[in-house]
């Protein structure tokens, strides 16, 4: 199986500032990878580059089989990005926001209901305008969009930030559930311990470059089915929880 994400010496610029200064990284299909590094290291930029938002000016970059150097648009329907901002229209209700995002991505509208339920956005809050929501609620809506779109590659930028304890657990559940469905997850987080429990391995970024790939973090044959199965089996509690929630 080809890797879900493959970057080689990828350079990406914001004006004159190099966001990515030659990133080389490979993520297998179905892997859950934790991106770590100091602030401003390029974690967010790498996620945005994977979503086709940031142009790659030199090097090679391939995501889900799409060559990002040649075409940054076609990949976008297949990835879901949870950014620092939640991409919501203030004037629209939660449900309207969700419906627009899902229809734009040509995902089945039927997924909206379960997604709202999964994130606890049913009832009155579903009809509330996005402008009236708290930060935590906005992130829940943004996550609901991802769930309903069911992308092949999840790009989560600090998904735990701004959420209460219950919300954080929901994020972990979503990641495990995405993995169960065979999706790949890239997760940038400062919460090293929490991220370590849900990720297969960690990749460290500093100064716009991947500086170390700790060999121990990812057992051999990363990204292949047996490993995923094994990893999931190692955490039966989460899987059970997900099973309940989704079913």
């Amino acid at each position: 199986m080809p890797p879900a994400v493959r970057f080689r010496d990828a350079v990406s610029l914001a004006g004159r500032f190099p966001l990515l200064a030659g990133v080389t990284v490979e993520v297998g299909e179905g892997e859950v990878v934790h991106l770590r590094g100091p602030n401003g290291a390029g974690k967010t930029s790498l996620l945005r580059a994977c979503a086709g938002l940031v142009p790659i000016v030199s090097g090679a970059a391939e995501v889900l089989g799409h060559d990002l150097v040649g075409d940054r648009q076609s990949v976008r329907r297949e990835v879901g990005l949870l950014g620092h901002r939640s991409f919501l229209y203030e004037e629209l209700s939660v449900e309207d926001n969700l419906r627009f995002a899902v229809r734009a991505a040509r995902a089945p509208v039927a997924g909206i209901g379960p997604a709202l339920e999964l994130l606890g956005l049913t009832g009155r809050i579903g009809g509330a305008r996005a402008a009236t929501l708290s930060t935590g609620q906005r992130r829940r809506v943004a996550l609901a969009v991802l769930v309903a779109r069911a992308p092949r590659l999840w790009l989560l930028d600090e998904p735990h930030a701004g959420l209460d304890a219950a919300g954080r657990d929901v994020v972990d559940v979503l990641v495990a559930e995405a993995r169960r469905r065979g999706a790949t997850v890239l997760l940038a987080s400062h919460e090293l311990e929490r991220a370590a429990t849900i990720a297969d391995r960690a990749v460290t970024i500093v100064g716009g470059q991947v500086v170390a790939v700790p060999a121990g973090a990812a057992p051999a044959g990363r990204g292949e089915e047996p490993l995923v199965a094994g990893e999931v089996a190692a955490r039966p509690a989460i899987v059970g929880e997900v099973g309940c929630d989704v079913a």
């Binding site: 939640s86 991409f87 004037e91």
Partner: protein, 222 residues
């Protein structure tokens, strides 16, 4: 593309309907302009009535800039612009959708403004078909250029000043043709306005075509 256009237009109109910025701010703004023109030109009916068409269209042009700015301010809030790019919508569809939403809003505004102008300037709204047809064509052209330039200047910090500077010289033909068509309609000889309608149609068609093609590259600037 048409499906995406309908989706975007529906979304924009729904936002406008919910927020009512257009109804509560742009329409009163346009009416204020008509009143100011009346004050500037004096109370004489002989001056105001023949100038109705021109003043009406200048007011529409000024409001169009506001509508376009509003249309892109909505996308800029909360990273929604990124969201739009991430959504996987066809760029041409986004352009047509946004232009259609602006057109619809401006048409509503023109109806209100037309009535107000007729009252204030004592003009007879005769030749109704002519007036309506020129409104539709002229507004489509304005919205196409506005959306194109709105996207062109959206990313920059100077967009509030850049957009009018780009927009007004470019739509001079629309102002001329729409005013002439309206004069023809108001004076009860709509036949003489047909040539102007074709100018408006050519303008709208040219810029809708350019916008559909050029919008993709523009969106990627952000």
């Amino acid at each position: 593309m048409w499906r995406d256009a309908a989706l975007v237009a529906g979304k924009d109109l729904r936002i406008e309907w919910r927020s009512r910025v257009g109804l509560n701010q742009v329409v009163p703004f346009a009416v204020v302009i008509l009143v100011l023109f009346g004050l500037a030109l004096g109370p004489s009916r002989r001056v105001l009535a023949p100038a109705t068409a021109g003043l009406f269209w200048v007011a529409v042009l000024l409001s169009a800039v506001l509508a376009v700015q509003r249309s892109f301010a909505v996308e800029a809030a909360d990273g929604a612009g990124d969201g739009l790019r991430l959504s996987g919508l066809d760029a041409g569809g986004i352009f047509v959708g946004k232009a259609a939403a602006v057109t619809a809003q401006l048409l509503v505004l023109e109806v209100v403004l037309g009535v107000v102008a007729a009252l204030l300037y004592a003009a007879h709204l005769s030749g109704f078909v002519m007036l309506a047809a020129s409104c539709v064509l002229a507004t489509a052209g304005l919205a196409a250029v506005g959306t194109l330039y709105g996207a062109l200047s959206a990313g920059s910090r100077v967009r509030e000043t850049l957009l009018p500077l780009l927009f007004f010289p470019l739509v001079a033909p629309v102002l001329i043709a729409a005013t002439k068509a309206w004069q023809a309609g108001l004076q009860g000889r709509p036949g003489s306005g047909l040539g102007w309608l074709s100018v408006l149609a050519v303008f709208a068609a040219a810029y809708l075509a350019i916008g559909t093609v050029a919008f993709g590259p523009l969106l990627e600037d952000g």
